[in-house]
């Protein structure tokens, strides 16, 4: 009896996703934790891990299909003894994209794309019924649009085995992924500004102690273990979340829940455009070295487009630093369902008054964008001051 592998919720507010590609085929052996598919959600393309051990028996959803959370993606034979006994555990005759096995059409809507190919509504529906990739067709309708007739022609002339393999559509896929991300960011940020009553606070503080501490620390360790200022910021935010309630959690169903764990998400700009904010898990409990290690790994994997679902869904608060872009301050937008976001400008040398004298100091402007449904400016001010206080005492980080 095969087990069902269902689409997990890859984010706190994810309702559905579009299957981009499969990393496994019928007959492949999978184990718990393996990345088996890529699914595009409104947070970007995400690797989906499987939590079953066994052999892939049948794949039920073809790439390009939009599926709701909980839909069965594949069948996995978990009773490996049974597989061995029958000799052949896979149903190789089953079509990769059996239309009858895809979820009910009612739940299927076209994915959100801004540069979408022109496919008529009727052709789109027909393509889904027939399992044809309408976006790859040359349209003959008005404006070069793909019509029902084009889809049906493609179905009748292309044998299933000749349908474009993932590799053949990879060229367009990367472009589509980027534009999908743009659309996802647009959707999330529009929703945020529509639904969340933001308030903004900023504070500029002297971070010379942190900069000095960092320089001396980095001088004493091998290059590979050197820290970035960002690691200090991440840790300071995480520690402040421990003592200031109302900033690390989720606003859902009309109410706020403080998250027990603090997972600080770090906004990472992608080279081709776009933005992701994967989490450094249990940030407050990690040493600075561990935070730094995670940060490095996240940035690398984010830019390679290989983030895990858990990392993208997890952040309880996000830090966005535009220090390398030489801006003074950032006024960031909260990512729903989170309730706060910290922006950091560049650390820069500025004239600063210390004990009645103007002296050059390293200063940083931190800003807070927070959800007024959850907290008020006074609490926000205390939270920002809490972060600045942690930075002022780098040894405590």
């Amino acid at each position: 009896m095969p087990s069902e592998f269902r689409l997990p919720a890859l984010g706190a507010d994810m309702d559905d996703g579009t299957l981009v590609e499969w990393h496994v085929a019928p007959g492949d052996r999978v184990k718990r934790g393996d990345v088996v598919a890529v699914v595009e959600t409104d947070k970007g393309a995400i690797d989906v891990e499987i939590f079953l051990d066994g052999i892939v028996k049948q794949i039920l959803v073809s790439p390009g299909t939009r599926i709701p959370v909980g839909a069965v993606l594949a069948l996995v034979e978990t009773d490996v003894a049974a597989v061995t006994a029958t000799g052949a555990g896979t149903d190789t005759a089953a079509p990769i994209s059996a239309p009858a096995a895809t979820p009910a059409p009612a739940a299927v809507v076209p994915p959100i794309r801004t540069d979408r190919p022109r496919i008529s509504p009727a052709a789109r529906r027909r393509a889904q019924e027939l399992g044809v990739d309408a976006a790859s067709l040359q349209g003959t309708g008005p404006g070069g649009s793909v019509t029902t007739a084009d889809v049906e022609r493609a179905q009748s002339t292309v044998e299933p085995s000749q349908r474009p393999a993932p590799a053949a559509v990879a060229e367009g896929a990367e472009k589509a992924e980027r534009s999908g991300m743009r659309a996802a960011i647009a959707e999330a940020m529009s929703r945020s500004k529509r639904e969340i009553p933001h308030y903004y606070l900023s504070t500029t503080s002297d971070v010379t102690p942190a900069v000095t501490w960092l320089a001396s620390h980095n001088a004493s360790v091998p290059v590979a273990q050197r820290l970035l200022f960002a690691a200090l910021l991440v840790k300071a935010v995480a520690l402040a979340c421990r003592t200031h309630k109302g900033f690390s959690g989720f606003y859902r169903g009309g109410g706020y829940e403080e998250s027990a764990a603090v997972h600080v998400g770090v906004a990472v700009a992608l080279r081709g455009g776009g933005l992701v904010a994967p989490a450094i898990m249990d940030t407050a409990d990690k040493t600075l070295a561990a935070v730094m290690e995670d940060l490095r790994a996240l940035v690398t994997r984010a830019r390679a487009g290989r983030l895990r679902a858990s990392e993208l869904a997890a952040p309880t608060i996000i830090l966005t630093s535009l220090g390398d872009a030489a801006v003074d301050a950032v006024f960031p937008i909260i990512q729903p369902p989170q309730v706060a976001i910290i922006g950091a400008g560049a650390v820069a040398e500025r004239p600063w008054v210390v004990a009645g004298s103007v002296v050059p100091r390293q200063v940083l402007t931190l800003s807070l964008g927070a959800d007024h449904r959850v907290t008020d400016g006074r609490l926000g001010a205390q939270f920002l001051a809490g972060i600045a206080a942690k930075l002022a005492d780098p040894a405590s980080l």
Partner: protein, 330 residues
Amino acid sequence: MTDPIRITYREAVKQSIREALDKDPRVFLMGEDVGKYGGCFAVTKGLLDEYGEVRIRDTPLSESAFVGAGIGEGLGGMRPIVEVMTANFSLLALDQIVNTAATLCHMSGGQFPVPLVIRMATGAGRQLAAQHSHSFEAWYAHVPGLRVVEPATIDDARGMLGAALACPDPVIILEPISLYNMEGELTAAAGTVRLDGARVHRAGKDLTFVTYGASVWRCATAAEALAAEGIEAEIVDLRSLRPLDDATVLASVRKTRRVVIVDEGWRTCSLAAEIAMRIVEQGFFDLDAPIARVCTEEVPIPYPKHLEDAALPGPERVVAAARRLFSDAQ
């Protein structure tokens, strides 16, 4: 049923009036110049001599007054047919039609339905210029409490009046001026037709024209031209503009997946806009191309023949709109 006979649209309307007068003593006709002059478009010519001035009544030139009188007669138990010379002039009676005829049944909790039939000539094509040629179908189709029909064929011209008189609600029958001279075969010699529901005027598989009134024939001409190119157009004649028959339109759209709406009204806030929206609401996933509209140019209808023709949704414009739904190349 008798054998088919060839008559004009005008004659078909006249026969329907005559039949109504013969069948029901409560029926009478009133309007401007309907008696001695025989009707502005000669529809009622000779009826005064046949039925006398009690049942064929000339009225003063006050649309508001005689439409209001018609409402009162209907409430009082008569079955008035009120003729308004053109849809343009009917605007003078808009208060009576919209504020009184359409509302009384509702406001009286169903106690006072208004069994009034208003016939009016509509549309352009006869060089009658901007004050006698307009199409206000959408204005009336907007109003709850009214039934609005527009016979496009000889059969409907002959049969709709009887159905309208049998209806307890106020019914507006719009008769296209340009069709009065049209000759055709009357297939159902004495039949009353149904008042609501659209009709497939021509069957086709590639494209649907949704239209009404005189534009049915513009579409018929366009469909012949398209057939020569291998495009088989279906024509849906709406017949009833309120209520609209969504089911017939959608059934055709599901079959052909392409729609051109041809409407002699102006495009902005038109019946064409309403029909297009209903198709999108109910048939979005059946469409293979954007919905196209061919309407009257947004100008007062010009007097000169060539300009009047240019303003109207003529067959050439309909054909061009249809071709664009197939490919850019054509």
